[in-house]
C-alpha cells in the first residue's frame, strides 16, 4: 500500500480523521491558497474559497475513491469552488464573469494585499483578458509549474488541449503586454 493510500485511509477513519485532516491542511493549504487566489484575485475571496474547499474535502473524503491523486482531487475542488465563487459574485453584481474579473483587477492597486509593480499589474490585466479556462491553465503552468499530466487530471482535459490552450494564452499575453 502506498503512503498516499495509507493517508487516505487515515482521513476516512473517524478515529484518526481529525489528526490526518490537520496534516492535510499543513501539506496543501498554501499551495491551494495561491491557486485559488490567482483565480479570485482578492485575499478575502481566496480565504472564503480556501475554507469552503477544505470543508468540502472533509465532508466528502468518504466519496474519494482514489482514482486520481489526492492532490489532483483537492485542486479540482479548489478550482470548481473558485469558479462558483466568481459566478456568485458576478450574479450578485448583475455582471458576467469576465466583467467581474476585470472589476477585481481594477481594484488591485487599492488592494492592501497586492504589492505588485506596474508590470505585475499589467500581467494580471493581460491574464484577466483571457477566457476563463485559459486563465486557469496559464496560471497553473506559468506560476505553479504544474506538469501537463497532473493538470489534465485536475481539469479533466486532455494534455494536448491544455498545451494548445497554454500556447494560445502566452501569445495573447505577449500581444497584450507589447501593445499596452
Amino acid at each position: 500500500m502506498t503512503d498516499e493510500s495509507k493517508f487516505i485511509l487515515r482521513l476516512k477513519d473517524p478515529k484518526s480523521k481529525e489528526a490526518a485532516f490537520r496534516e492535510l491542511l499543513q501539506l496543501y493549504k498554501e499551495r491551494l491558497y495561491w491557486h485559488i487566489r490567482k483565480i479570485v484575485i482578492s485575499h478575502d475571496d481566496a480565504d472564503d474559497v480556501l475554507q469552503n474547499t477544505f470543508i468540502k474535502v472533509y465532508r466528502s473524503i468518504d466519496k474519494f475513491k482514489g482514482e486520481s491523486k489526492l492532490f489532483s482531487w483537492l485542486y479540482r475542488i479548489a478550482t470548481n469552488e473558485s469558479i462558483t465563487h466568481i459566478n456568485k459574485n458576478a450574479k450578485r453584481l448583475h455582471i458576467n464573469n469576465e466583467e467581474q474579473k476585470t472589476y477585481a483587477i481594477d481594484n488591485l492597486t487599492a488592494d492592501v494585499y497586492f504589492e505588485g509593480d506596474e508590470i505585475q499589474l499589467k500581467l494580471q490585466q493581460a491574464i484577466a483578458s483571457l477566457p476563463e479556462k485559459q486563465q486557469i491553465v496559464f496560471n497553473m503552468k506559468y506560476f505553479d509549474e504544474i506538469k501537463y499530466k497532473d493538470m489534465a487530471d485536475i481539469l479533466e482535459t486532455s494534455e494536448g488541449a491544455l498545451k494548445a490552450s497554454y500556447h494560445i494564452a502566452v501569445k495573447k499575453i505577449e500581444t497584450y503586454l507589447t501593445s499596452n
Binding site: 481529525e18 491542511l25 493549504k29 485575499h43 475554507q51 470543508i55 504589492e115 508590470i119
Partner: protein, 166 residues
C-alpha cells in the same frame, strides 16, 4: 584510409562554427540578461495578512465543529420551482378530468330534462331533425283516416292562403 573497420572510426564527423565555444559564454550571459529585464514576472504580486496560514486551520475546524445541519438558503428558488411544478401538474390533472366529455354518461332522463327546461317548441325540434333521423318505421300510422271535414278545418285554421296558392 582503411576501408570498413568500424572500430577505427572514432570521430563522428561533426563540426562547429569558428570560435563557437569562445563566444558561447558571452552569448549565453546576454540571453540570461534578456530574461532578467522583466523582473518579478514569475511572482504575481499578491501578499497575505500576517500569520494568515497559522490561523486559517483553526477557522476551518471551528466551522466544521459548528452545527453540522445543512443550511437551507431562504433565497433558494428550488422549492419555488418544485411547488410550481406540482401546482401545474394538479391543474393539468383537474383540467383533464373536468373537461372530459360525458359521452356515455348522459342518460336519456338528463336529455329529456334538458329539453323540457329549454322549452323548445315542436317547430324548433323539427328543425334539429335530420332526414336520416326520420325513418318510416319510427312512425306509427294509425288506421284512423282523416275525415275531410277535419282536414278542411285544420287547413283553414293553420295555414295561410298564400302558402296554399303557392
Amino acid at each position: 584510409m582503411k576501408k570498413g573497420n568500424l572500430h577505427n572510426i572514432n570521430d563522428p564527423g561533426f563540426k562547429t562554427p569558428e570560435n563557437y565555444f569562445e563566444s558561447f559564454e558571452e552569448n549565453f550571459m546576454k540571453k540570461l540578461e534578456g530574461t532578467e529585464s522583466i523582473p518579478n514576472l514569475n511572482d504575481p504580486g499578491f501578499t497575505v495578512p500576517k500569520d494568515y496560514f497559522n490561523l486559517v486551520d483553526d477557522e476551518i475546524f471551528n466551522k466544521l465543529n459548528k452545527d453540522d445541519t445543512p443550511v437551507i438558503s431562504l433565497n433558494s428558488r428550488k422549492p419555488v420551482y418544485y411547488i410550481a411544478g406540482i401546482a401545474a401538474s394538479i391543474v393539468l390533472i383537474l383540467a383533464i378530468f373536468i373537461n372530459k366529455p360525458f359521452g356515455d354518461e348522459i342518460s336519456v332522463e338528463m336529455v329529456e330534462a334538458y329539453l323540457e327546461d329549454r322549452d323548445l317548441s315542436s317547430y324548433e325540434l323539427a328543425e334539429l331533425l335530420l332526414d336520416s333521423d326520420l325513418l318510416e318505421e319510427d312512425f306509427v300510422i294509425t288506421e284512423t283516416s282523416f275525415e275531410e271535414d277535419n282536414l278542411e278545418s285544420y287547413l283553414l285554421e293553420n295555414s295561410e292562403i298564400e302558402l296554399i296558392i303557392e
